[in-house]
């Protein structure tokens, strides 16, 4: 409903360019940009990209926004991962941990599809 209203108002303004406009979303690890059709709530955007709220911050322009905030096509949004680190130190040595050796855990790859069931999180 809100989507069709927004589309109509843009058509009325006569701007064909605005009609095709989509919000630009900046993602990290690896760094990339995607375009997403708005309007969309923050929590829905994260869910569509299969990203966890607990592991990300959403920044619109230069302001932090909450999960219920509505994002629009004209917005520039950064989804910033909050997880860092990964050292296997002496005090927490994990048997079998290989530190810098790259593994093939699906959880560490960029997520772009919804095909992975959310509950099936183990590799």
């Amino acid at each position: 409903m809100a989507d069709s209203c927004l589309r109509r108002s843009r058509l009325q303004s006569g701007s064909a360019q605005a009609y095709h406009r989509r919000m630009k979303v900046h993602l990290s690890h690896p760094e990339r940009h995607v375009e997403v059709k708005g309007p969309k709530r923050v929590k829905d955007l994260l869910r569509d990209l299969n990203l966890l709220v607990e592991a990300h911050l959403v920044i619109r322009g230069d302001e932090l926004v909450t999960e219920d905030e509505l994002l629009r096509d004209e917005d520039y949004v950064e989804i910033r991962p909050v997880i860092s680190g990964g050292s296997a130190d002496e005090e927490s040595r994990v048997r079998g941990s290989r530190g810098a050796v790259e593994t093939s855990y699906r959880s560490l790859l960029p997520r772009t599809s919804h095909l992975v069931p959310r509950t099936n999180f183990l590799p």
Partner: protein, 320 residues
Amino acid sequence: MNCNKCKTKAVIGLPRHNAAFCKTCFNTFVHEQVARAIKGERMFGRDHRILVAVSGGKDSLALWDILLKLGYKADALYVDLGIPGYSAKSREKVQRFADTVARTHEATLLIHKVEEEEGAGIRELANLIHRPTCSTCGTIKRYQFNRTAVEQHYDVMATGHNLDDEASRLLGNVLHWQEDYLDKQGPSLPASIEGFAKKVKPLYRLSEREVAAYSVLNRIDYIVDECPMAKGSKMLLYKEVLNRLETESPGTKQAFYCGFLEKQASALRQGSGQAQPAPTSMAEKDRATLHPCATCGQPTTAEICSYCKMMAKAKAGSTR
């Protein structure tokens, strides 16, 4: 979503506290959590000199910022590991924070360059001694931070470990029943013997997301890129698993780690009147097992400490 305290527009929701805060109230919340950690774990007082271990990441820079704003005397040490394309960037972030924020509080930044003292960058050293880069990095950082804190007469060394770091480490140790390492999972480790600096983790009550939000809201310019050496580490997997659990059941990470700390504390309090002997405290264990390294004098369980052994091996490898 509105702020629970002042009812203005919120900038962050905290499901585990069933709360949401605006920027001002969130900053107050963060400062209160850190102050509670410092007081509750008797980490340090107003007159103590603190050495913060900084890396250029959100946690360590946020910690330095919070301690300075709370009025503590906190200097920082940055260890330049010589990782191509990463160390220069992270050092620049630390230097900028030191110049713009720390200087106004009369705090100093100390820098240790691995390539200058150890003779090679971290990647080259790890190759020479045939050990994973993260483990080599851990040994060098622990050694250099402790050495600097002791030699420069700091009362305590503070690291930016947050709730997620501690909970994921605990999960790893419990999954593999690494009981010996559980002793060192506390947020405040005493200076058990001469040569060991006291180590504290004032951010242990804050989640990784909360620390990142504090950094963003307070315009702390930190390095967002992950360390290229940490790719694929088990700790990242454990963090991801815990975040899935946290999403389904907010408060899981806090219940897991803080529950462990409570059980550890009650096990130390009890025991004397029990059938089983009382668990020995970490300080007592350290005093019984540690003595000065024959080469450098820093505490070790062996004749020569792991850092000196590592350096000897690297030197032998490079002359071959």
